[in-house]
């Protein structure tokens, strides 16, 4: 079974982009357009990795991240931050920070190193 990646970004164009990149590299994907929706999707889909944007309407990415880390079952899910703003301080132990605009090969490389 392919590994599953959850994409959380409020911009549908970016979601499409990431979905295409990951599925082209043999991963399954699911997506959410807000923090709230993201939490529900994590619980329902149990992804192997999460791609998280920081600046979104409503709740920002870091808050999603804190809620995720509080959940015992989900707290070990690796998170890659993909964002246009500097958020190193906001999400402490993310696997990587990828700045928009990003190089898709590099991103896939990080994903491969993390979940194979």
């Amino acid at each position: 079974m392919p590994k599953k990646i959850l994409i959380i970004d409020d911009d549908p164009v970016v979601v499409n982009y990431l979905k295409a990149v990951f599925s082209d590299n043999g991963y399954a994907t699911c997506s959410a357009s807000s923090s709230m929706e993201g939490l529900e999707t994590v619980k329902a889909e149990k992804p192997d990795l999460i791609c998280l944007d920081l600046q979104m309407p409503g709740e920002w990415g870091p808050r999603f991240y804190r809620k995720l880390r509080k959940d015992k079952e989900l707290k070990d899910t690796p998170v890659i931050v993909v964002s246009g703003i500097d958020g190193d301080h906001a999400v402490k132990d993310a696997v990587a920070f990828v700045k928009k605009p990003f190089d898709p090969e590099k991103l896939v490389g990080i994903v491969k190193n993390t979940i194979g």
């Binding site: 409020d10 164009v13 970016v14 499409n16 979104m56």
Partner: protein
């Protein structure tokens, strides 16, 4: 004085301090403490740090400013070490922590006593020293003075002696004078003249004393020398002299008799000042005084002169123009409409140390406008070298400050926009990736999707660029007359296709009676399109239903043309509505720049109109723009200039 907001501490500590022999005043707040302090002037103040209102640190600073000799002991709660250390920085003598240990308190009090005692001793020494110095220097000055007087008397008498004995030698004293000086013999002959006399009136040595004078003065009996010999006392008179070149010049003549040892008048000294010269000098003096006055009035600064009580004693024209100046009014009243001197007053500092000081302040003019001013002070001293007044020069730097604000908002803008651009680039990358990989894998639906994404992003880029261009350039309105309905139709047509493509029902509701408008159509259109596009986004984001509708109503009401744009999208909460029109406020995450509605509001404002919004979360929003259908004042003047 003991200051604490807790009654228990005031009571217990108050009693134990009274027992130790102190007279104790208590206060329950910083403000009360200051009142008591001004009345009683206690030497030692014990104050809690944490109090509602004016806290201990503020109180400490106020006390130290009013009387630096006051010793202040801070009472701190457990773990307020930072505050305690901060208070030491502001020159508290010590601090004690709660709960208060009597021994610790005693040590702190002793320390305060020690400091007060030392300061008193130091002051006594200094004062003794000062009075000693004063005494000695007074003596020295007295001796100096006597010596100087002695020398002057000696010099004068020597001069007189020389003159009497040796006329040639005596004359050198007159050579430098800007007057005609001559010496006359009892035979009424000129026996010596100074160079100026020779230059202007001719070398009259050996001639008759009256020869240079015109009219009655120019006769043997009435010339000043003759009168002096006759009366034995000096003469002072106006007369007219004939110059060597044949001109006539008015002069003021003074004579003095010089007597021999028998008391007889032996010689007469005649000194004449050229009145034209005197007048010329006086005019020059007046002119330079006037120049100074002009300079004082015209320099591009506010200049005022203040005494030790900060009362205005002089002010230049610019100052009087912008501020209410009544001589004797207080600077802080005139400048800041305050009732007491400002903290950090540079004038006060200059009085204290005699140095020039500089500071920046915000002052309020008599018209109520606020100016940022840069203030320089300079001491004015009396002849004894004491600073009696301070001159204050303030340069109005409001415009520089505004420019600075603009620059910093520009910086903010650039960072906000650069974030937006990163999002757009990512989107373009995404679209290109889909198109490219779609072609490679021969998946036309993927190419199609990628192309749609690219179109979306290009649309966003276009909007961003428009907004930036509008924002970057402050353009003047160029209003033209346009039929209101034509304008509305044009706006509607611009967005209609896009709305329909997104499956949204676009409803026009135009009132036919709307007449002509005077607007800058291109600019106002941008504002309305920004609002319509927001309505579109609000509908697209709302996934609770799929029957979305955007209404565009145009009507009129009380001299205003109303444009109303309503949607049934996601809506906004109260807080969002309030911030909506501020710069860089965006609810759209990566997709927004926070420019659109800010610019819309600005445009409406330029047209002399109003913009408002009503919205509820989950219920949609209604934006209302009203534009006066007479032309706006600003537009009128702009057009007249053109």
């Amino acid at each position: 004085m003991l200051v604490d907001d807790e009654e228990g501490i005031r009571k217990v500590l108050g009693i134990s301090l009274s027992d130790s022999g102190y007279t104790v005043f208590t206060a329950q707040s910083g403000e009360e403490a200051l009142d008591i302090f001004r009345r009683e002037n206690p030497a030692i103040v014990l104050t809690d740090i944490k109090m509602p209102g004016m806290d201990g640190i503020k109180l400490l600073r106020a006390l130290k400013q009013e009387n630096p000799d006051t010793e202040v002991i801070m009472i701190t709660g457990h773990g307020d070490m930072d505050l305690a250390i901060k208070s030491l920085k502001y020159q508290a003598i010590d601090f004690v922590t709660k709960p208060i240990n009597e021994d610790v308190l005693e040590i702190a009090l002793n320390r305060a006593h020690e400091k007060i005692r030392m300061r008193q001793q130091l002051r006594e020494y200094t004062e003794n020293l000062e009075s000693l110095v004063r005494e000695k220097s007074a003596k020295l000055i007295e001796i100096e003075r006597q010596v100087a007087v002695g020398q002057a008397v000696e010099g004068l008498s020597a001069a007189m002696r020389d003159m009497a004995v040796d006329l040639e030698g005596g004359l050198t004293y007159f050579n430098e004078m800007p007057c005609f000086v001559s010496i006359h013999s009892p035979e009424l002959k000129v026996i010596a003249v100074n160079p100026l006399y020779r230059d202007r009136l001719g070398d009259k040595v050996g001639h008759d004393s009256w020869e240079v004078y015109e009219g009655k003065t120019g006769t043997k009996a009435n010339c000043p020398a003759a009168e002096t010999y006759n009366s034995g006392i000096g003469v002072r008179a106006r007369a007219t002299v004939k110059t060597a070149s044949g001109d006539k010049a008015p002069v003021m003549v003074n004579t003095a008799p010089i007597r021999n040892q028998n008391g007889d008048v032996e010689l007469v000294v005649e000194i004449s000042a050229d009145l034209a010269e005197v007048k010329r000098l006086q005019e020059e003096l007046d002119r330079s005084q006037q120049r100074y006055q002009q300079l004082f009035d015209e320099v591009p600064c506010y200049i005022s002169v203040q005494d030790r009580q900060f009362r205005l004693t002089a002010a230049n024209r610019r100052f009087t123009e912008d501020f209410d100046t009544e001589y004797g009014a207080f600077c802080y009243e005139v400048y800041k409409h305050r009732n007491e001197p400002c903290p950090n007053c540079p004038v006060m500092k200059t009085f204290e140390d005699g140095q020039s000081h500089q500071t920046e302040m915000v002052v309020t003019s008599k018209a109520g406008e606020r100016y940022n001013v840069l203030i320089w002070t300079a001491p004015l001293r009396n002849s004894a070298g004491e600073v009696t007044h301070v001159m204050e020069m303030s340069t109005n730097i409001t415009q520089i400050r505004q420019l600075q604000d603009n620059l910093s908002s520009l910086g903010l803008k650039i960072s906000s926009i650069s974030h937006g651009i990163k999002g757009l680039l990512t989107g373009l990358d995404g679209g290109m990736y889909l198109v490219e990989s779609g072609f490679n894998k021969d998946k036309p639906e993927r190419v199609q999707k990628g192309w749609e994404d690219i179109k979306t992003i290009v649309g966003r880029i276009r909007k961003l660029v428009h907004n930036i261009l509008f924002f970057a350039k402050e353009r003047e309105l160029k209003p033209t007359r346009i039929a209101g309905l034509n304008f509305a139709e044009d706006v509607a047509a611009t967005v209609e296709n896009r709305l329909k493509a997104s499956g949204i029902n676009f409803v026009r509701d135009f009132d036919d009676s709307v007449g002509m408008l005077r607007i800058d159509a291109g600019v106002l259109r941008l504002a309305l399109i920004n609002i319509l596009e927001n309505a579109l986004d609000a509908c697209l984001e709302d996934q609770t239903q799929n029957k979305h509708k955007i209404g565009f109503r145009v009507g009129q009401d009380a001299g205003q043309v109303i444009f109303e744009i309503s949607d049934n999208g996601i809506g906004m909460d109260q807080e969002t509505c309030e911030k909506l029109f501020t710069l860089f406020f965006s609810t759209k995450g990566n997709k927004g720049t926070g420019l659109g509605l800010f610019i819309a509001a600005k445009i409406v404002d330029q047209h002399g109109g109003k913009i408002s919004v009503e919205s509820k979360r989950g219920r949609g929003s209604t934006f209302k723009v009203s534009i006066p259908n007479i032309e706006p004042e600003s537009a009128k003047t702009k057009e007249n200039i053109e």
